[in-house]
């Protein structure tokens, strides 16, 4: 008997004869939500507060066209190189006009900054949700020391549960990697002292593009 058969047989014996108390497949089909903490009524503000709390930097702009200037300002203030790699969809922006050298490609070990979009932004914890895919290489948010994420207002959701529903509706199944990013990488292994910038980015800059703000103005 293989290890697989032996282990499964032992588990079935421990469970006892007869059908399982609740069918696994049925639970999965229904996938009910657990208790969800209240989320407040200003999602963008809450997202911002939570993200700042986890040491992300956050800015709000009213249109995508403003993004390159914001990115340039952010890098300049910190005296970082005016170079970045980005996801292909963001190549349509006029980076050159803002004085930035941006290339659409996966990141290498020595790229200084990576610019991505996000499938969702979760207000409960100030978290970005990134999906892997041919046009969304994971290296861009991982290898550079600076990660910049551009999030449209319509992508802001209250909870991870809402993000799952949206993912099921838009994609059907999970991509190879779903990555939730909540601030710069960190470690507290040495004397439990929090240090930002472990193996991933040292800083995360989130730009929320809020068209509604433009309409109000």
């Amino acid at each position: 008997m293989s290890a697989r058969e032996a282990i499964l047989a032992r588990l079935a014996r421990a469970r006892g004869a007869g059908p399982a108390p609740e069918d696994a497949d049925d639970r999965i089909r229904r996938h009910p939500r657990g208790p969800i903490p209240p989320s407040g009524d200003d999602p963008v503000r809450r997202f911002r507060e939570q993200a700042l709390g986890l040491r992300s930097d956050v800015a709000t702009v009213t249109s995508l066209a403003e993004v390159p200037e914001r990115v340039a300002g952010y890098l300049r203030e910190r005296q970082l190189p005016m170079q970045a790699v980005c996801w292909p969809a963001l190549m349509a922006l006029d980076w050159r006009a803002a004085g930035l050298d941006v290339q659409a490609r996966p990141a290498r070990g020595d790229d200084a900054a990576g610019i991505t979009g996000a499938f969702a932004a979760i207000t409960e914890t100030g978290t970005l949700m990134l999906l892997s895919g041919p046009d969304t290489p994971g290296t861009v948010s991982l290898l550079p020391e600076t990660h910049i994420a551009v999030v449209e207002r319509a992508r802001v959701v209250a909870t991870m549960e809402e993000a799952w529903d949206r993912l099921r509706a838009e994609h059907g199944s999970l991509p190879r990697a779903v990555t939730f990013v909540s601030g710069p990488s960190r470690t507290a292994d040495i004397e439990q002292t929090i240090t930002l910038g472990a193996h991933g980015p040292y800083r995360v800059f989130i730009i929320v593009v809020d068209d509604a703000l433009a309409a109000e103005a």
Binding site: P21, A24, A198, H199
Partner: protein, 467 residues
């Protein structure tokens, strides 16, 4: 990993007098206990979320084979290969075979307690493979040739000076004791090794039955690097880690980081499902998931079953007065603190772990802080009972208990004995009312004075009161 739990008492005694260790353990209070309390206070529904979390784990344990079959089916459909291992030796053989099959030489590894359980690093090194631990804490331990002393914070026992010495010797760079500098140094040394690795090994915080995903909860980003860059990914984990749905996973994720480190969420949570798609530029071409039993299935259907709910947050050890006093190494295996005092005897046998179920005052704090409501003191008491049933307790203890039982069945003699002892102790203590030494319990009086009886027994007082 070798079990050295029989040296518990000797090591615990030594550690109590190790000043450096005591300074390190003192950090548990602010960094873990206070941080957890603050993070829980922020969560309005903590009680109901905790109830739901315990039920999520219980539901899976009631039909573990069903959920594992579903997990295997989903993972396989997405191109992963699921392996089943009865023992640590099986895991080591399976992973070495995978490495050989894919022509792997260089391995980067994220933190995994199950791999510690198996002694996987040593086994792979023996097979001629280069294995590099990449979690900062585990990397430090690899340089120091030491096992972890905490399941979440593996080098909680080391100071920054210790780390500086290890780095200076290994990296041939100027020695620094500045923590930020040490972290940057590790990043710079490890980055090229990530880029050159053929295979990444990780554990799994959860397995999702619905999607066949492996969930990794991390902060440093090394887990992402191990699962994004190398062409092979192997996840090694226990069979009990499966969770039904993405929603159930989310409920557990609301608690795990809060109770473990006081974070509302860890920097990274990754759900890894299947292999790289044809047109993707990153991700592994081969994904192997190794499911380990190693004693877990034996706990199902017994009094110890609730232990399988454990999500490895470390809160029980952070809050345990015994762990706070002696640290993790004294427990003599991978899992320390109250959860380890249950898991180690359950996995490796009662005989080799005689002191562990007694390494607790049964104060109940561990059960109080457990996010999945494991009744740890009850389980420890149950293990003590099993020891007695199997005659594993020392003869002196058994003789003393037998004598007490006999006396308790003879009330007149009991009363007489109690009066004699109470009066004798009262006289010995003198006016101070405290005993500094007492024959037979020097372990107790060595650390503190014994308050002496006032000379009158409960029966005396009760009788006087009734009059």
């Amino acid at each position: 990993m070798q079990v050295t739990a029989l040296q518990f008492k000797r090591r615990a005694a030594a550690n109590l007098h190790d000043e450096k260790l005591q300074r390190a353990l003192a950090r548990l209070q602010t960094k873990f206990v206070d941080a957890r309390a603050a993070a829980i206070a922020e969560l309005p529904d903590y009680g109901s979320i905790r109830d739901a979390a315990a039920e999520i784990r219980d539901r899976v344990l009631r039909d573990l084979d069903g959920y594992l079959r579903r997990f295997e089916q989903e993972a396989t459909a997405r191109g992963a290969v699921v392996h089943w291992a009865e023992s640590a030796a099986d895991v080591n053989r399976i992973v070495a075979d995978i490495a050989e099959q894919h022509g792997v030489r260089r391995i980067v590894k994220a933190k995994s307690m199950v791999s510690e359980e198996c002694g996987l690093d040593d086994a792979l090194a023996e097979a001629g493979l280069e294995v590099l631990e990449t979690d900062l804490g585990e990397y430090i331990l690899q340089l120091a040739h030491e096992p972890p002393s905490h399941i979440v914070a593996p080098v909680v026992h080391k100071s920054k000076e210790d780390v500086a010495d290890l780095f200076a010797a290994a990296h041939h760079r100027p020695r620094t004791t500045e923590i930020g500098g040490l972290c940057r140094e590790a990043r710079e040394v490890l980055r090229p090794r990530f880029l050159a690795a053929d295979m990444g090994i990780t554990g799994a915080n959860f397995l999702v039955g619905e999607t066949g995903s492996v969930v990794l909860v991390t902060n440093e980003g090394n887990g992402r690097l191990c699962t994004t860059l190398p062409r092979v990914h192997v996840a090694v984990t226990g069979i009990e880690k499966v969770v039904a749905t993405l929603e159930d996973t989310t409920t557990l994720l609301r608690l795990l980081p809060r109770v473990a480190t006081g974070q509302s969420i860890t920097n990274y949570v990754s759900l890894l499902t299947g292999i790289r798609r044809e047109d993707e530029s990153d991700g592994p071409e081969h994904f192997h998931i190794v499911l380990l039993d190693n004693g877990r299935s034996r706990l199902l259907g017994t009094e110890l079953q609730p232990m399988l709910r454990c999500i490895r947050c470390g809160a029980c050890m952070n809050h345990c007065p015994v762990y706070q006093g002696i640290g993790g190494h004294a427990y003599g295996w991978v899992y320390p603190g109250p959860m380890g005092a249950v898991l180690t005897p359950a996995f490796v046998g009662l005989e080799d772990t005689l002191d562990l179920p007694h390494a607790s005052t049964l104060c109940g704090e561990c059960a109080e802080v457990c996010p999945v409501k494991i009744p740890l003191p009850d389980l420890l008491r149950h293990l003590r009972q099993r020891q007695v049933e199997r005659h594993l307790r020392p003869w002196s203890e058994r003789a003393a208990l037998r004598a007490w039982a006999w006396l308790a069945r003879h009330p007149a003699l009991y009363a007489l004995g109690a009066r004699i002892v109470a009066r004798a102790l009262h006289l010995c203590a003198g006016r101070k009312g405290r005993l500094r030494h007492l024959l037979g319990v020097s372990g107790w009086t060595g650390e503190r004075d014994l308050p002496a009886p006032t000379g009158r027994t409960f029966r005396d007082l009760y009788r006087a009161r009734r009059r």
